[in-house]
């Protein structure tokens, strides 16, 4: 379905930017650039839910941004349904639904207008988009605030709207960057239920998270990224077996320790 091979992405450091002692020890700093992603590879099959784990600054967001074509990799390749994403990013964008870590809504547009705008950008007809929005708003229980401006919504409402916007075009692959960060329990549950719904429908999902309970309840596979490289890529069962007690936290720490060593 999607295959990522040896992705790498470096960013130039700001002029005059001084590096700390810790940064000087970090292998990702080379000369005047910071290699946010050095070597990330993994694949995702139909119906898979992949949890992307890693400490803060490991390169998860940069990887997801490259996957969603917002950023162009310096090296490596991304193949989606046998097509080269880097060669034809527009085609990939039609097939990927992406939810960034910020909801990224237009404050002066209503929930309906926000979702409809992106549906139009995906080339959906007025009839099709209305039907799809109605379906999504029912699924996410959004009808009560459909005509409310985003600037007046609660964070839960915003997150629901952002999810609806990300999947309005019925993407073949859904990518979510820390979708439950900063949400209350009720909204988190809505998001998790939504991911379960996608899984049940056979839609592959890749999402980054720091919540290991979400990984344990949703994921088939786990990818750990550490210092810009894939440190682990395998099934949830294999990952949990890295800890003698099957504890995901300990498994995660074991991977990080091993990589750091």
């Amino acid at each position: 379905m999607i295959e990522i091979r040896q992705l790498a992405k470096a960013f130039a450091l700001e002029k005059g930017q001084k590096l700390s002692e810790a940064e000087l020890q970090d292998v990702r700093y080379t000369g005047r650039s910071f290699c946010s992603v050095r070597d990330v590879s993994f694949s995702c099959k139909q119906g898979d839910v992949i949890g992307l784990l890693g400490p803060n600054g490991a390169g998860k967001t940069t990887t997801l941004r490259m996957l969603s074509t917002a950023l162009k990799p310096d090296a490596g390749s991304i193949w989606l349904d046998g097509q080269d994403v880097l060669r034809d990013p527009l085609l990939a964008r039609r097939k990927i639904g992406f939810l960034s870590s910020s909801t990224g809504l237009y404050g002066r547009l209503t929930a309906f207008e926000n979702v409809a705008y992106f549906a139009r950008l995906h080339g959906m007809s007025e009839v099709a988009l209305r039907q799809r929005i109605d379906e999504l708003f029912t699924m996410l229980d959004m009808h009560s605030f459909a005509s409310r401006r985003a600037e007046l919504m609660s964070s839960g409402m915003k997150q629901k709207t952002a999810i609806a916007r990300a999947v309005v075009h019925s993407p073949a692959l859904v990518v979510l960057d820390e979708p439950t960060t900063g949400l209350d329990i009720m909204t988190t549950q809505t998001v998790l239920d939504f991911i379960r719904g996608l899984k049940a429908a056979g839609t592959p999902v890749i999402f980054s998270t720091h919540h290991l309970d979400e990984v344990s309840s949703l994921c088939d596979r786990v990818v750990v990224i550490h210092q810009g490289s894939s440190a682990f890529d395998g099934s949830l069962t294999t990952f949990s077996q890295l800890s003698p007690q099957g504890d995901l936290r300990q498994a995660f720490m074991a991977v990080i320790k091993q990589e750091s060593a």
Binding site: L71, I96, G107, L109, L121
Partner: protein, 400 residues
């Protein structure tokens, strides 16, 4: 591209700041500000003209006719002083004891017909822009001098029509080849550009900040970048939005001023707007507005490029603030005396548009130069749009 354009317009139309800049400011606030300024200026002038200035006259008895004219002038009131020396009188004027000291030489005799020039001294504050005391004195001296001239000419046997021949040996009958419109254009043409061009800039600046730096700050840009729309179409959609608001601001302001001018003119019995419109003609008016299009394209692309580079709304404001001052420099250049629309000045951005508008208002535009101005402005706009599109492709700019 059109989806982006329509969405941006919808969003901007719901933004109070944009509505204020594009609609409220030109329709209500500008006319109110200019109206108030006019009212204040009129009041200040009226008060100044009604003001009574205290004066002292030294040796007034030597020129009784002049002293009498001064005494009965409605803006002067005589006071007395014991001072006679110029420096002492100057200090007294500075101290506010009186406003004017007139020193007539002790040897002057207004009644005599001596053919000798006399030098009088007027001491007053010449600093005010409206030199009212100076103007009053000039009129009084002119009138008094004419009387003396007539008396003196009579003593040497010059009377009747000969007087005019001596006082004004050559009388000029000036016939202007310029039409009223040309005179109007010379006086007002440069100022029209001075008003319209900054309006276009102002109309572009806030929306450019909002839909580029603002979008970056709100986190919506990333979501937009992963939609199946090319970045060229994306930036062109935004560019068209900024262009629309810039032109709308200028157009609304012109219509607003025209409307208010017509209304006030009708009420006050002054038909200056109707006269100006009749002199200008529809084609010229359309040409003036058409010239603003490539100019606003320059502003829109430059402002959008700056704004997308900024990390935040505030940073964009910091870049664009000083740029607004730069707009006035080429416009001020066009207002300088002697700066005309030539093949060379036709290549100076903004100055050329300003000079062109002036020539259009005057009705003396050279179509060849006009074409060059339009071509050079369109070319510059094209280069800046291309740069803006290129700028939007750069990750270093979008993800700073």
């Amino acid at each position: 591209m059109w989806q982006v354009y329509l969405k941006e317009l919808l969003e901007l139309s719901r933004d109070r700041k944009t509505l204020m800049f594009v609609i409220l400011l030109p329709i209500l606030i500008f006319p109110v500000i200019f109206g108030l300024l006019g009212l204040v200026a009129a009041n200040v002038t009226a008060n100044a003209q009604a003001e009574e200035h205290r004066y002292v006259i030294i040796n007034g008895d030597k020129a009784p006719v002049f002293a009498e004219k001064l005494f009965y002038h409605k803006n002067f009131k005589q006071v007395t002083t014991t001072l006679t020396e110029p420096e002492a009188l100057r200090q007294a004027v500075r101290a506010g004891e009186f406003d004017l000291a007139v020193i007539i030489p002790a040897d002057f005799d207004g009644a005599s017909a001596q053919l000798r020039q006399s030098q009088w001294t007027f001491i007053y504050n010449t600093a005010p822009v409206m030199d009212l005391i100076g103007n009053y004195l000039k009129d009084l001296v002119k009138e008094y001098s004419l009387q003396l001239q007539l008396v003196r000419l009579e003593t040497v046997g010059i009377t009747g029509p000969q007087v005019d021949a001596v006082l004004e040996p050559v009388k000029i009958n000036k016939i202007s080849s310029a039409e009223n419109r040309e005179n109007l254009g010379e006086k007002l043409g440069g100022w029209i550009a001075y008003l319209l061009v900054p309006l276009c800039f102002m109309g572009c600046s806030y929306p450019a900040i909002d839909i580029a730096a603002g979008e970056k700050e709100r986190g919506t840009l990333e979501t937009l970048l992963i939609c199946p729309i090319s970045r060229t179409n994306l930036v062109l959609g935004k560019f068209l939005t900024v262009l629309t608001t810039g032109l709308a601001t200028a157009l609304i302001t012109v219509l607003s001023f025209g409307g208010w001018g017509y209304l006030i003119g009708s009420l006050a019995g002054v038909d200056i707007v109707a006269k100006a419109m009749a002199a200008l003609g529809l084609v010229d008016l359309m040409l003036i507005l058409a010239m603003l299009i490539p100019l606003t394209m320059i502003f829109a692309s430059a402002l959008l490029s700056l704004s997308i580079y900024a990390r935040s709304f505030k940073e964009a404001q910091n870049y664009i603030g000083p740029m607004s001052i730069l707009v006035f420099v080429p416009l001020a250049l066009a207002l300088l005396p002697g700066v005309e629309l030539t093949w060379k000045t036709a290549l100076i951005p903004m100055t050329n548009i300003s000079l062109c508008i002036k020539e259009l208002v005057k009705g003396t535009i050279d179509m060849g130069i006009l074409s060059l101005v339009i071509a050079s402005t369109v070319l510059l706009a094209g280069v800046l749009i291309a740069f803006c599109v290129h700028w939007f492709q750069r990750e270093k700019v979008l993800f700073r």
